[in-house]
Symmetry: C2
Amino acid sequence: MNRIITISREFGSGGRTIGKKLAEELGIKCYDADLIHKIAEESGFSENYIKDAGEYTPGGFLSSALANRAFGQTNEDYLWKIQYKIISEIAEKESCVIVGRCADYILNGKADLLRVFIHADMDFRAERIVKVYGEREESPEQRLKSKDKRRAAYHRFYTDMKWGDYKNYDIALNSGKVGIDKCVEILKSLY
Amino acid sequence: MNRIITISREFGSGGRTIGKKLAEELGIKCYDADLIHKIAEESGFSENYIKDAGEYTPGGFLSSALANRAFGQTNEDYLWKIQYKIISEIAEKESCVIVGRCADYILNGKADLLRVFIHADMDFRAERIVKVYGEREESPEQRLKSKDKRRAAYHRFYTDMKWGDYKNYDIALNSGKVGIDKCVEILKSLY
């Protein structure tokens, strides 16, 4: 079985950066934007559409989820299946880091997993999204809350697991307190 | 400000063992049974009584909490105050490890804290309590669930924080997956 590090993270916590650095140091691949590309290629949907769909529950954010489902499979359901298939194939092929995309759930029992959750205080994340992503909104806090909510709802919808629940992770780190480089070091030592 | 490591833990996860080993390696004190002694001395209650009270919400496990409170301060409220005072005094006096007793909440803002949560899968914990504590019950799982529930309820009652919620910790570790010695090593490197 390949050894896979899955990273779930709060928006702005640096989880993606940690995943990339970690993979680099371990000499394995980090799937993130790459993964989205692959999904796009296979599904025929545009890349931007998929990027959005990853953070919305079927049929728009919660509101019309059930209504749309009455008419059968939504686009998001279709994407979920492709995503599921691609992540399973990657895990069979190689050891790697996978950021987001419910990989922890999808690969449960199918790979030797190290399940990581990265979070940080609101202040740390607000400062970081302004600096890293150049967000210019008046209230980065509002944006963070909305993003977290969507990730949690998406995760819950497709996996029935509570996003952020300690029971689902082998290690959870506060990147604001621990520091991004130290997070990388600890995870590396655990691999 | 003194540097304090607070360890909250699921029953049977080895959190107390990790705390002791960590303190030993860092050359600082670990407060746990010692702390209970101190509380006992100051309160005049017997040690066993206090040990139990630490895992019950006021007036018995939830059921009669409000009823008893109508008549004023319960014994558990009294103990909480003493505990609060003793933990605050310890933190002013020295850097140390404190296991359990809501120290993370009590010391918030009063010390340089590293807030740790230790958990593990049911199987790991069930095997461990039989081996370490010599528990002979037919269903260690039942005992674990009941213990966790009480710790969570106690914590919630006095701190209004959700026990085990990742937001309240700087690092959460699955001791069953990571291993007890490795947990000690990681925490040591963070101190």
